[in-house]
């Protein structure tokens, strides 16, 4: 069964993106400027089967994060179709739903509800999240009193304990000190071994090679290679050393 399928997907952004002021609209209407298009993804097609773990590799700005936002349904494709079956939990930018003035406990419940959990499920999972994070009594303190490592630990614990069908990981495989990193990696492998689908965007590393069976190589928005991770990894690293 295909859980993720992209067919001829293209995603463009306006060059002026981000802040759009009234002035820009007036200029466009008056024909002063042509909206310049930037191709973040160009005609990308691939599918991921249930239980596969796939890495997305490529240089900065190759379109990896754009790809993830399309898969999670955050952004619509400019053309082509994106189909996703099953609930995807994204470890995008850990802790994006967190607020510094709320306590750890309040943030856990807020994040669980943002990720689509019911009150009952959130309360059931609460203890395992706190235990995993090793924050103990700090859980009752506002988040602004946390060190950055503690905050990442909390965010990671929330995301991995929510039992997603498709786990989407962006740049973060492990956070915190070495001991906690090992625990994170172990948890991700455990999720994979349960037969969950994993889509992982990360720097190419030995851990990634071990975690994923397959890799997609993106370059300037185009899918240049799709195959077993060993082959794609070798080609990718070969290209890097040639250009260096």
């Amino acid at each position: 069964m295909k859980v993720i399928e992209l067919q001829n997907v293209t995603k463009t952004f306006h060059r002026s993106g981000g802040q759009r002021l009234l002035r820009h609209y007036l200029e466009e209407v008056l024909g002063k400027t042509d909206p310049q298009l930037f191709f973040a993804l160009k005609d990308v097609s691939f599918s991921v089967a249930d239980g596969e773990s796939v890495a997305v590799i490529g240089a900065n700005g190759a379109g990896k994060s754009t790809l993830l936002s399309l898969v999670t349904g955050l952004a619509p494709p400019s053309s082509g179709t994106v189909t996703v079956n099953g609930r995807a939990a994204a470890l995008l930018d850990l802790g994006s739903g967190f607020h510094p003035d709320l306590t750890g406990r309040e943030n856990i419940l807020l994040n669980a509800s943002l990720l689509g959990f019911s009150r009952r499920q959130a309360h059931d999972l609460y203890d395992s999240i706190v235990e995993f994070s090793e924050l103990d009594d700090f859980i009752k303190e506002p988040l602004r009193t946390y060190s950055s490592g503690m905050m990442l630990r909390l965010a990671f614990s929330v995301a991995v304990n929510l039992d997603p069908q498709i786990l989407i990981i962006d740049e973060v495989l492990a956070v915190g000190d070495q001991k906690f990193q090992a625990k994170c990696t172990e948890k991700i492998f455990e999720i994979r071994n349960q037969g969950r689908t994993i889509l992982c965007v990360s720097h190419f590393s030995p851990t990634l090679r071990e975690l994923c069976d397959r890799a997609l190589w993106l370059d300037h928005g185009q899918l240049v290679m799709d195959g077993p991770i060993a082959e794609v990894g070798a080609a990718y690293e070969g290209r890097l050393s040639r250009s260096a």
Binding site: H14, L21, A75, P76, S96, S113, G116, F117
Partner: protein
């Protein structure tokens, strides 16, 4: 697509807004009481001592009936308008239904509103207007008002993502609105031609209904209630439609 627990999410977002607003204030919810009381005293002074020739009795509660809905409307509308753009981190990272962000912001202002309504009712009783069965209309008119604010906020918050100037338009509109709704003057001072149009403005209609219920001790007229219900529902439906049309490209503009 996101298939979660809407109520649980809404509750968490409302509680978050409320806690963030009050956690770092030493006086906390007392501010909700202070602002309308200060405004009430100032307006009462101006319109009973400086311009003493008005025919309105019980001016303090008369003006409070205008101030409480007006304050709620402006605070909820302004905070709601910027809510989507200000929560870009959330919108771009979590596939929650986007409508919930402005609606939660409006509802979190309702906590504030509840306190102010308590103040208003207390003042009404202090001024010797007792409780009567017409008060049963209060939840109806307030409910319609909240529906209206949700609708207009859905519209402006979606527009604000594309054109950030919208928030300043809203701000100016609120300043203007203070004069265009009968906060400190009576509707019968308004020439008849304009007075009929006033009733289509849900905010003005609410103020009129409140005065009828709380000061005159009567039920609001059926025409007024129908106009209020009609315009509130229309604005809410329109708000949902506009937001739904525009939310698709939020990601590209945030």
């Amino acid at each position: 697509m996101w298939k979660g627990d809407y109520l649980f999410l809404l509750q968490n977002l409302v509680v978050k807004d409320f806690k963030i607003r009050y956690r770092n204030m030493s006086l906390g919810v007392f501010w909700s009481l202070l602002n309308p009381l200060v405004m009430m005293s100032a307006l009462t002074f101006v319109f009973t001592a400086v311009f003493p020739n008005n025919q309105i009795e019980n001016f303090p509660i008369f003006v409070l009936c205008g101030l409480v809905p007006f304050n709620f409307f402006t605070v909820a509308w302004q905070n709601g308008t910027i809510s989507v753009a200000n929560n870009a981190g959330l919108i771009k990272r979590v596939p929650v239904p986007r409508e919930i962000v402005p609606i939660a912001t409006v509802l979190s202002s309702c906590v504030h509103l509840g306190i102010q309504i308590g103040l208003l009712l207390t003042m009404v009783i202090i001024f010797g207007r007792g409780i009567n069965w017409h008060w049963l209309w209060l939840p109806v008119v307030w409910g319609l008002e909240i529906l209206f604010v949700c609708g207009i906020t859905l519209m402006t918050s979606a527009l604000d993502v594309y054109i950030r100037d919208v928030r300043y338009v809203v701000e100016s509109a609120c300043t203007l609105l203070f004069w265009m709704v009968p906060v400190f003057y009576a509707i019968h001072s308004v020439p008849q031609t304009y007075a009929n149009i006033y009733q289509f403005n849900p905010l003005a209609a609410l103020i009129l209904a409140l005065r009828t219920i709380l000061i005159d001790g009567a039920s609001p007229t059926a025409t007024l209630l129908l106009k209020l219900a009609f315009s509130s529902t229309l604005v809410f439906a329109l708000g949902l439609y506009v937001f739904h049309r525009m939310k698709r490209h939020f990601f590209d503009y945030l």
